[in-house]
C-alpha cells in the first residue's frame, strides 16, 4: 500500500490505527493477502442481543437509535440542500487469538461503534462520523456533512420503510456465542500438526480472528436496511531451517461463517499446507528474469484479475475519466473465451455481501462477457453518473469512511482446456501457484503481483520450484494475451484484503488454470 501521507509517530499507538480520521489517502490500491491478520485486534467479549444470521430487527434501538432519531438526523443531513443522505450505523465486535512458541498466549479484542453520515450533491460528497450515538452528536455530524450543499432544506422525511435483505451467509454458531476457551484447542492442534509435518519446522505462529458486524443503512429515500455480517480468518506461518538456510511461508482461510466452519480436518489442512509450502522453498530459487509465458494455478491466482483489470473496472475511476478502461463499455477487451464476474452472492465467501454499505442489494455482476466489457462496478454516485442501477459494490472499511466502488468475489468462469493440456503447451515458462500481494496503477494500467511458490515449466513439464519474484505487466495487454482458460475454476479460500482510498475491505477471488503471455518475471539470473 502506498500512502501519500506517511506521517505520524502516532500510528505506533495501536488504537489510532483504528480511529485515525482520514489523514491517509492511498494513491493506488494495493492488495494484501493475509497480511498478518487484523491490524487491530479484538474480542467480542460482550454477548450481545440477537444471534448472527437472525433477521434484522432494529438492533440499534439497543443504543437508543429508533426511527424517530433516524428521521431527525436525516432531516439535519438534508437541511442545507443535499440531494441525498445516508447514515451508516455499525457495531462491530472483533476477537483475535494468537499462538506463538507453542502457547496460546495472545488475545486481542476490538469494538467499533459509530455512525458515518454522508450527504451527496451530484457527485460531490460531504462526510462526517461520530462514535457517540447520542441524538445530539448524530445531528451535529449530519450538519457537518450537510455543508457540501448550499441551498434550501429538503422537505422532512415522511415515512421510513424497513427492507428485507437476501441471506448469502448462514451461521450455525455465531461468534458472539463462542468463548475464547473453545477456540484455543483449534490453535493448539494446528501448531502440533505443523510442527510434526517436518523436522525442519522450527517456529509456528497461528492466529484466528472473528468478527460480527451489525450494520444499518438509513437513507433519505426513507429506506432502512440492516445486516449482520460474520467473518472469520485463520492464518498460520511456519519458519523452517535446513542447515544454515531458513524459509518462511503461510496459509490462510477467510470466510463469512461461524464457528461451525472449523474442525480438526480444517486446522490440519491449515497447518499441513503452510508447512509444505515452507519446506518446498528449500528446493526453490528465484526464477530466471525476463518475459515468459505464465501459467496461473487455479484459485489464488485470481489476484491477476483483481489487479490487472478489477480495479480499472471500478466505476469511480471511470466516471472521472482516469481509468485505462474509461469509455470501453461494449468493446472487446479480451479473447471471446474470457468471461469475468464480480459476485456478492457466493454462499459464505469472503467477499460476499447481502447488502453493500449503501444498503443496495448485492448481485452477480458480469464484467466481461465472452471478451466484451459489459459493466463497471458501481456505487450510488457512479450509477447515477452512468444512468444505471447500482451493482451493490459500494463498500467501506467501517463507519469512519465514505463508501466507494469495490470488488467482492472476482473470478473468471471456466474455459475448455484441461490443466494438464495447458501446462503441456508451454515450452519454457513459469507455473505460478501462490502469491502474497499485488498492486496496480489504475491510470497507467501497470500492475504487479508477487509470486511466493511456483515452478519452472520446461518442455511442457513442471521442473524445479521457484520463489520470491514479482510479476509485472500492463493490465489490458495481459487480458488480451490470455491464450488458454482451464476447466477447473476455484475460489480462493484465503484471507484476502484489498486496500484503496485508505480503506481495507475483505475480498474473494478465483481463477481456473490460465495461460498468459506478456508478463515480466522479476527474477535474478538470465535464464
Amino acid at each position: 500500500m502506498i500512502n501519500r501521507i506517511n506521517n505520524d509517530g502516532w500510528s505506533r499507538r495501536r488504537f489510532l490505527a483504528t480511529s485515525a480520521a482520514g489523514a491517509t489517502l492511498a494513491i493506488a490500491p494495493s492488495f494484501l493477502i493475509g497480511c498478518g491478520g487484523p491490524a487491530t485486534p479484538p474480542a467480542g467479549p460482550a454477548d450481545l442481543a440477537g444471534a448472527a444470521g437472525a433477521p434484522p430487527s432494529g438492533y440499534f434501538k439497543n443504543f437508543g437509535v429508533d426511527d424517530q432519531v433516524i428521521g431527525k438526523v436525516l432531516n439535519a443531513a438534508m437541511g442545507k440542500g443535499g440531494q441525498y443522505a445516508d447514515l451508516f450505523f455499525q457495531h462491530k465486535v472483533t476477537s483475535y487469538l494468537g499462538l506463538e512458541d507453542g502457547e496460546v498466549n495472545q488475545a486481542y479484542s476490538n469494538i467499533k461503534l459509530g455512525c458515518g453520515v454522508r450527504v451527496l450533491k451530484g457527485d460531490q460528497t460531504g462526510f462526517a462520523f461520530t462514535e457517540d450515538l447520542s441524538t445530539e452528536a448524530l445531528v451535529s455530524a449530519a450538519m457537518t456533512a450537510a455543508v457540501i450543499a448550499n441551498g434550501p432544506a429538503a422537505p422532512p422525511l415522511k415515512t421510513i420503510v424497513r427492507v428485507d435483505v437476501p441471506q448469502y451467509y448462514t451461521v450455525e454458531i455465531p461468534w458472539t456465542d463462542v468463548g475464547i476457551e473453545r477456540k484455543m484447542p483449534m490453535l493448539e492442534r494446528a501448531n502440533k500438526t505443523a510442527m510434526a509435518y517436518d523436522k525442519r519446522v522450527i517456529k509456528v505462529r497461528v492466529f484466528t480472528g472473528d468478527s460480527t458486524s451489525r450494520v444499518m443503512v438509513a437513507n433519505s429515500d426513507g429506506k432502512i436496511t440492516e445486516d449482520t455480517q460474520p467473518m472469520t480468518i485463520a492464518y498460520l506461518t511456519c519458519v523452517a531451517q535446513d542447515g544454515k538456510r531458513r524459509e518462511e511461508n503461510y496459509y490462510s482461510f477467510g470466510k463469512r461463517a461461524g464457528f461451525e466452519y472449523y474442525n480438526d480436518d480444517r486446522m490440519d489442512e491449515l497447518a499441513t499446507v503452510a508447512a509444505k509450502r515452507t519446506v518446498t522453498l528449500f528446493d526453490a530459487e528465484q526464477p530466471p528474469a525476463g518475459e515468459y509465458p505464465v501459467v496461473l494455478a487455479p484459485g489464488l491466482s485470481g489476484i491477476l484479475l483483481h489487479e490487472a483489470i478489477g480495479h480499472g473496472m471500478e466505476a469511480d475511476f471511470n466516471r472521472k475519466g482516469k481509468s485505462v478502461y474509461a469509455n470501453r463499455i461494449g468493446k472487446p477487451i479480451a479473447p471471446d473465451f474470457v468471461t469475468i464476474i464480480d459476485d456478492g452472492t457466493n454462499p459464505n465467501e469472503r467477499g460476499s455481501l447481502n447488502i453493500d454499505d449503501e444498503g443496495n442489494e448485492s448481485q452477480r455482476t458480469v464484467l466481461v462477457e465472452n471478451g466484451i466489457l459489459r459493466s463497471y462496478m458501481h456505487d450510488r454516485i457512479s450509477a447515477a453518473h452512468y444512468g444505471v442501477k447500482p451493482t451493490g459494490n459500494g463498500r467501506r472499511q467501517d463507519f469512519r469512511h465514505p463508501p466507494v466502488p469495490r470488488m467482492r468475489n472476482t473470478y473468471m468462469v471456466d474455459g475448455h482446456h484441461s490443466p494438464a493440456e495447458i501446462i503441456a503447451s508451454v515450452k519454457k515458462g513459469i507455473y505460478a501457484e501462490t502469491f502474497t500481494n499485488g498492486q496496480v496503477r489504475i491510470g497507467s494500467g501497470d500492475f504487479s503481483f508477487y509470486l511466493k511458490n511456483g515452478y519452472v515449466i520446461e518442455n511442457g513439464k513442471l521442473g524445479r520450484p521457484v520463489k520470491d519474484a514479482n510479476l509485472i505487466g500492463f493490465g489490458p495487454e495481459v487480458l488480451e494475451n490470455v491464450v488458454m482458460v482451464g476447466n477447473d475454476m476455484e475460489l480462493n479460500v484465503g484471507a484476502g484484503m484489498c486496500g484503496k482510498d485508505g480503506q481495507r475491505v475483505p475480498v474473494g477471488m478465483g481463477l481456473p488454470t490460465v495461460k498468459c503471455n506478456g508478463i515480466s518475471v522479476g527474477g535474478v539470473n538470465d535464464g
Binding site: 501519500r4 501521507i5 506517511n6 506521517n7 505520524d8 509517530g9 505506533r12 499507538r13 495501536r14 488504537f15 480511529s19 485515525a20 480520521a21 482520514g22 489523514a23 485486534p41 479484538p42 474480542a43 467479549p45 498466549n105 495472545q106 479484542s109 476490538n110 469494538i111 467499533k112 461503534l113 457527485d123 460531504g126 462526510f127 461520530t130 462514535e131 457517540d132 455543508v147 457540501i148 475464547i180 517456529k203 519458519v239 528465484q286 528474469a289 525476463g290 482516469k322 481509468s323 485505462v324 470501453r328 496503477r441 491510470g443 497507467s444 500492475f447 504487479s448 503481483f449 508477487y450 520470491d468 514479482n470 509485472i472 500492463f474 515480466s520 518475471v521 522479476g522 527474477g523 535474478v524
Partner: protein, 442 residues
C-alpha cells in the same frame, strides 16, 4: 475533552481493570480531529470532517496478557468491556515474558520542545482550505501546454490529536501533535488508453513548512508527463539511482526484520548481524525521536518508555534491533524500543541530478510498483518505474520492470548517497545509487 479529563479517564479505566483482578494495566486514550478536502476538476469532490476518539488497554492478569481497544466510550460500556476482557484473559496460557516496562524506562523523558504542535491548526477556515485546493489545481493546469491533462485532483488535510498514556506502574504521559498535508495528482493522456498520473505532496507538522502550491502543481504535472511513452528496457544488470522520496518504500524491507518479533521468531536475515557489516561504508542512519518538527518525534514510545537517539547503521555496521519489552525478555536482553522514529541519514555531497550525470548506463527509479521482500532470507523482487539513463542523460521513461536481489549483497553495493534528504517522511532518506543491480523487463 481537556487533557486532564482524558488522563482521568485513562486512570479510571486502569483502576477498573485492577478491581476486576488485573495485576497491571496500561491505557492509551486518544482524541483526534481531521478535516480533509478533496477537490477535482473545478469543484469540491469530498469534504471529510470528524473528531475521533479511542481507548486501548493492555491487561496483565495472573501472568497472562491481552490487548483490547474500543470506540464505545460510554462510562458503563467501558466498565463492562474491561471486566469482560479481564475475565477472558484468564483463559490464556501464562506467559512470564509479558510485563509492563521497568518503571525506570519511563524516567528521563525529554523536556525539549519537540515542536510537534502548530497552534494555527484550530484557526483554519473552510474557505482557506478550498482556496488552497483550487489554487493547487490551477497550478497543475497552468503548465499543461500540450493539453494532455485528463483530470486533476488536489487535497488539503489537517489533523490535530492528543494521546495520553497511563500505566499502573507509574507511566503518566501526554503528548499532542498536529499534521498537515496538501498535494495534487495529475492524470495525463498517453497512447493505448494509458493515463499515467503524477503526484506531488508535502506532509509536515507545521502548516508554514508545507511546500509551495506552485511547486506542487508543477511537480505533479512533471511527474505525470515524464511517464509518457514509457517502455521496458532489456533484462540486464544496471546501475540504479533511487529517488529520495521512494527510498523509504525500499528501506522498509531492510528495517522490518530488525523488529523483536522478527528476531525472536527467527524470521530475520539480520538475526546474527548485530555489530557486523551489512552495507557499504556509506550506510549511516540514526534514529532521532527528538528532531524538532519531525513527523515521528516523540518523548515516549509505544510502550511509554522514554525515547533516546540511537544509531541504526554506522558505516555499514548494524548497531541496534528494535526490541519491545516482551520480545527483549524472550531474547534475554534489555529492550531498546519498538518505535523507529525519524531516520536521519549521513548525506553525501552531490545532488540527484549530478548523480544521474555520473551514470554510464542505468535506471533512475522514481517509484515502486508492488513486489515484496522475504524477511527470512533477504531476497526481494520489486516492480520499478523511472527512467533509462545512458552516459549521464535521461533517454526515456521505463515501466513494467522489476529489480531483484538479496539485501545482504545489495547494500554492500551502495555506491553513493545524495545530499537531498526528503523531509516529508519520517524516514528522511536522500537519493541512493547502487551498482550491479539485476533488473528485468523485455
Amino acid at each position: 475533552m481537556a487533557d486532564k479529563n482524558l488522563m482521568e479517564m485513562a486512570r479510571n479505566t486502569a483502576l477498573i481493570a485492577r478491581k476486576a483482578g488485573a495485576k497491571d494495566a496500561r491505557v492509551f486514550l486518544s482524541r483526534s480531529r481531521n478535516v480533509t478536502l478533496e477537490w477535482r476538476d473545478g469543484k469540491i469532490d469530498r469534504i471529510r470532517e470528524s473528531t475521533s476518539q479511542g481507548l486501548s488497554i493492555d491487561l496483565y492478569v495472573e501472568g497472562r496478557y491481552s490487548s483490547n481497544s474500543t470506540s464505545d466510550l460510554r462510562t458503563e460500556a467501558i466498565e463492562e468491556y474491561v471486566k469482560t476482557a479481564v475475565a477472558t484473559t484468564r483463559y490464556l496460557a501464562v506467559d512470564e515474558h509479558r510485563k509492563l516496562p521497568d518503571p525506570s524506562r519511563y524516567k528521563g523523558m525529554t523536556t525539549e520542545n519537540l515542536e510537534r504542535s502548530d497552534p494555527t491548526v484550530s484557526g483554519i477556515k473552510p474557505e482557506e482550505r478550498m482556496a488552497q485546493a483550487r489554487q493547487l489545481e490551477e497550478a497543475v493546469r497552468a503548465g499543461d501546454k500540450k493539453n494532455k491533462i485528463v483530470s486533476v485532483t488536489s487535497w488539503v488535510s489537517d489533523t490535530s490529536s492528543i494521546t495520553v498514556g497511563f500505566a499502573t506502574n507509574g507511566l503518566e504521559a501526554t503528548e499532542a501533535g498536529t499534521s498537515f498535508s496538501r498535494g495534487a495528482e495529475a492524470s495525463v493522456r498517453d497512447t493505448k488508453d494509458r493515463k499515467p498520473s503524477g503526484v506531488d505532496y508535502g506532509s509536515t507538522r507545521f502548516q508554514s513548512d508545507l511546500p509551495g502550491i506552485d511547486d506542487l502543481g508543477k511537480g505533479s504535472l512533471r511527474r505525470a508527463m515524464e511517464q509518457l511513452g514509457s517502455r521496458q528496457v532489456k533484462t540486464d544488470v544496471y546501475q540504479v539511482v533511487i529517488e529520495n522520496r521512494v527510498v523509504p518504500t525500499f528501506v522498509r524491507h531492510l528495517l522490518s526484520p530488525l523488529s523483536g518479533s522478527s528476531i525472536q521468531q527467527k524470521r530475520s536475515f539480520l538475526e546474527d548481524k548485530l555489530e557486523k557489516e551489512v552495507g557499504s561504508k556509506l550506510l549511516t542512519i540514526k534514529s532521532d525521536p527528538h528532531l524538532k518538527r519531525g513527523l515521528a518525534s516523540t518523548a515516549w514510545d509505544g510502550e511509554g518508555m522514554a525515547t533516546v537517539r540511537r544509531p541504526v547503521f554506522d558505516k555499514g555496521v548494524l548497531k541496534t534491533f528494535f526490541l519491545d519489552t516482551y520480545y527483549a525478555s524472550k531474547l534475554g536482553v534489555d529492550p531498546t524500543t519498538s518505535s523507529k522514529s525519524n531516520l536521519i541519514w549521513k548525506p553525501g555531497n552531490r545532488s540527484v541530478k549530478e548523480m544521474i550525470k555520473g551514470m554510464t548506463r542505468g535506471i533512475y527509479i522514481t517509484s515502486f510498483l508492488g513486489g515484496n521482500s522475504n524477511s527470512t532470507t533477504g531476497d526481494f523482487s520489486l516492480g520499478i518505474k523511472g527512467h533509462f539513463v545512458e552516459n549521464g542523460k535521461i533517454i526515456h521513461p521505463v515501466s513494467e520492470m522489476n529489480m531483484a536481489g538479496n539485501h545482504l549483497e545489495f547494500w554492500i553495493n551502495l555506491a553513493e548517497v545524495g545530499n537531498d534528504p526528503w523531509s516529508h517522511s519520517s524516514n528522511r532518506a536522500p537519493s541512493l545509487m547502487f551498482k550491479d543491480v539485476q533488473c528485468s523487463g523485455a
